[in-house]
Symmetry: C2
DNA sequence: CCCGACCTACTACTTATGTCGGAGGAATCC
DNA sequence: GGATTCCTCCGACATAAGTAGTAGGTCGGG
């Protein structure tokens, strides 16, 4: 296998199911199915079941028998998965340098004023830290 | 297939080969192989050949017979692929909102002072534009 | 007590990806 | 001029991922 041991390895469709779990907090196969349907994604009941099983095998979800159906919930946060994927993208396309990516994002995507404010604060904090270490 | 028509669809190993093409500008199978080897990636000659062929089929590289060996070069830029992948990540994990991603990146990755400066300039520009539109 | 609605457990099939090996041709080296 | 070295062409095989059908249990109503 390509030496890469990317932490949360999963396909796009699997990720969609995981997202459903993040949204719903906890859900049965049917609930996930309904969620996906209501978001325009049409797959069979058993397909969702397969995904949930696979997600559990991969350790990113766990199930728990409730009444007659299993209830699933994610065991990893969206942030964790996101960080992992982002890091992978960074490594694969920018040799790990975040700078170019951030600039590209801010340039080509639209940030809300609030987000811009947040970002500004963050930068100020980093700036002052730099100055202090490097007067 | 999962309805998604992601522009530059390719596996990690294929991407590594494409990266080699970006670095080398143009290269034969062997040159790519050597490049990969020198970067700690060990695969068979024919494996690289397969990847190059597939990349060509996908339209992201083209070949051209030179002497006895084919010479390959990428037909898409790193930026294009990067943008596409990034957009996909954004959609998959943040419903397309760039803000959270940017904040996460700036928070968890290290930017150089130069990059921070760039970023600051960018924000200032965006800020003034916002103020002008929204006094 | 049988029906329909659900649920789980399997099995299965397809395409994409990662990885090669072997066949057969051309240039190269004593 | 036969062995060596490269190259290309093709076929192959394993695993992952996307998608789903079938078999067989359970439960609530008529």
């Amino acid at each position: 296998m390509a030496e890469r041991e990317r932490e949360y390895e999963m396909g796009d469709a699997e990720l969609e199911v995981l997202r459903a779990l993040w949204e719903l907090r906890s859900a049965t196969v049917r609930q996930v199915l309904d969620y996906l349907r209501s978001h325009g994604r049409h797959v069979a009941y058993t397909t969702v079941q397969t995904f949930l099983t696979r997600l559990e095998q991969k350790g990113v979800a766990k199930s728990d028998r409730r009444d007659l159906a299993y209830v699933y919930r994610a065991t990893v946060s969206r942030e964790r998965v996101s960080r992992s994927r982002l890091r992978s993208l960074l490594t694969q396309l920018y040799d790990g340098a975040a700078g170019p990516l951030v600039l590209q994002l801010v340039r080509s995507e639209t940030l809300t004023p609030d987000e811009l404010g947040e970002l500004q604060k963050l930068i100020d904090r980093l700036d002052s830290r730099t100055k202090r270490t490097n007067p």
